[in-house]
């Protein structure tokens, strides 16, 4: 068997690459043979033989383009995942201009709205029970079972308060309304109903009256309060009559769990793996990207050649054995690949939305500082 090696020239045909991602791209077809020549010459041809074939060069070229695309789109995805999540997977993000949106931030914030009772994606329900005289403890868990609610409930709010002070604002027996009464008496309106006040009083006076009523209730009366532990409600003061409704709001625990996973039928982007990025279009890659691809292709070829020459550490020659340069090739290829990837990632990171905004801000500060060096003239009108 005689396996031919690179003869010094090549002629690319579609189908010569392992995956065929770019075979039909005219620019790729043209560059494939040029890249093969470039790599072969960089590896020593024609001074030395290069134990590779044209298809090895093409495979490396294809991999380099794909790697470039992966790095580029992985960067874009990192920069935009928050914006594109929940958008259709059918969208081709490779060439799309992505405009930032708060949609997903709001979606992510709904959980706080649920707990705060100001929005969110879990329904708050209302319920009530009737008090029994002298009974202070009520099990709302049992109430939920009686309402056929499975999975439990979580009480969000209990409506159990004392009557608002303002309802007794004009109550002469509230202990604080006498001032009003006295005032009305002093103006000769004592025979009139205390519910009507014909004297315009400053607001601070009304507020002080309300505070006095509340303070009076706090000191002299049993406070309206409750204690809620594990859905066991203890209300204060001890009810002195039956049949009083106490209202409350709650959520169903299962609703909160159901809000976590959205299994809608529409195919939407849910994670980096199904974001609509595809392999790059080679003909649209500019010279900056292509030069990176050429260099990465060379590193890959170097690596392949290293593995070819290194399959057998010792190569027999007549009467002796020699060691080829496989270790040099592989170590050099590994270092070059790492350096190229780091260079590309650094460059891409510098073009992130955050970095561009930071740079813009720095430019603005620098520009203002520079303009500040101009002498300030004195305006004489």
């Amino acid at each position: 068997m005689n396996i031919p090696i690179y003869p010094g020239s090549s002629s690319f045909f579609p189908g010569n690459t392992p995956f065929g991602f770019y075979d039909n791209d005219y620019d790729f077809q043209v560059d494939a043979d040029k890249v093969a020549t470039f790599c072969a010459r960089r590896l020593g041809y024609p001074i030395m033989e290069v134990e590779l074939q044209d298809i090895n060069f093409y495979a490396a070229f294809e991999e380099a383009i794909t790697t470039y695309g992966n790095e580029l789109y992985a960067f874009q995805l990192r920069d935009n995942l928050l914006n594109v999540i929940n958008t259709p997977t059918s969208s081709n993000l490779s060439t799309a201009l992505i405009t930032p949106s708060l949609a997903n931030i709001i979606r992510m914030s709904q959980q706080y709205g649920v707990e705060a009772g100001v929005g969110g994606n879990v329904t708050w329900y209302s319920g009530s029970f009737t008090t029994t005289a002298s009974i202070q403890d009520y099990d709302l868990g049992d109430w939920a079972i009686s309402q056929s609610i499975s999975g439990g409930i979580e009480i969000k709010r209990i409506f159990h308060y004392g009557p608002p002070a303002v309802t007794r604002f004009y109550d002469p027996y509230a202990g604080t309304g006498l001032g009003t009464q006295n005032l009305m008496d002093s103006f000769g309106f004592g025979a009139y109903s205390p519910s009507v006040n014909f004297v315009l009083m400053p607001v601070n006076y009304d507020i002080q009256v309300i505070q006095a009523i509340e303070f009076n209730d706090t000191v002299r009366k049993s406070a309206y309060s409750f204690e809620l532990i594990n859905n066991k409600l203890k209300i204060f003061p001890i009810p002195d009559q039956s049949g009083v409704n106490i209202y409350f709001q709650y959520i169903k625990l299962q609703d909160r769990l159901d809000s976590i996973v959205n299994t809608g039928s529409a195919a939407v982007i849910t994670n980096p793996s199904n974001a609509g990025y595809q392999n790059p279009v080679y003909s649209r890659i500019n010279s900056i990207g292509r030069q990176w691809i050429f260099e990465y292709t060379l590193s890959l070829c170097k690596e392949i050649l290293g593995y070819v020459r290194g399959k057998y550490t010792q190569v027999p020659i007549p009467g002796a054995e020699v060691t080829l340069n496989q270790s040099d090739l592989i170590s050099a290829a590994t270092a070059e690949k790492t350096a190229l990837l780091e260079r590309l990632r650094t460059f891409l990171d510098e073009t992130s939305n955050q970095k561009m905004l930071e740079r813009k801000q720095a430019e603005t500060v620098a520009r203002q500082s520079e303009l500040g060096q101009a002498p300030m003239t004195i305006f004489i009108g």
């Binding site: 068997m1 005689n2 396996i3 090696i5 030395m48 033989e49 134990e51 070819v308 020459r309 399959k311 057998y312 190569v315 027999p316 020659i317 007549p318 009467g319 002796a320 020699v322 080829l324």
Partner: protein
């Protein structure tokens, strides 16, 4: 079937060898095979007169030189030197020659008569010419292994004894 030393691997080794021998080491010698049809021999197989040779073949090889020795004898000073010529077996196959006992190798205007010729360098220890392919448990061994070289140990022989060129006796 074996795993290592396939004919595909051997193809690569062959190229490396030819590059090393031809482009890097670039050592050449000329092989003169004895023409057994024209050379007259006695009952012991020794030539009784002149030896005749076939057309010379230029071959790349790897040459292991030893220092010459000079022995003073009653009839003068005697010059001797031993050389080892290692040929790539594939080159010999392509040229259809095989150096044997009595053949002459010319190297740098000196003539060396082959006294030993052997092959003993098998890649991954296998010789594809002896696959014992009838073994049903391990078929296809004819595609594995590689007999790399033919080594010839030769000693210096004066030009007037070889009769390839006109020399003063």
């Amino acid at each position: 079937m074996a795993l290592f030393g396939s004919s595909r691997d051997v193809s690569m080794l062959r190229k490396v060898n030819r590059e090393l021998l031809g482009d890097i080491m670039s050592q050449q010698c000329v092989l003169y095979k004895v023409n057994l049809e024209k050379t007259v021999s006695n009952i012991y197989g020794e030539s009784t007169g002149y030896r005749y040779y076939t057309e010379p073949t230029i071959l790349y090889c790897r040459i292991t030189r030893t220092d010459p020795t000079f022995n003073n004898t009653d009839i003068g000073r005697d010059y001797s030197r031993t050389m080892t010529f290692s040929f790539l077996r594939d080159d010999l196959v392509d040229a259809s020659v095989y150096p044997e006992l009595g053949d002459i190798i010319m190297y740098q205007e000196g003539y060396f008569e082959v006294e030993q010729s052997y092959d003993n360098q098998l890649f991954v220890g296998k010789d594809p010419d002896y696959p014992y392919a009838t073994n049903p448990l391990n078929p296809g061994l004819e595609n594995f292994g590689y007999s790399v070289s033919i080594n010839c140990i030769a000693h210096y022989i004066p030009a007037d004894k070889v009769n390839l060129t006109k020399e003063r006796p």
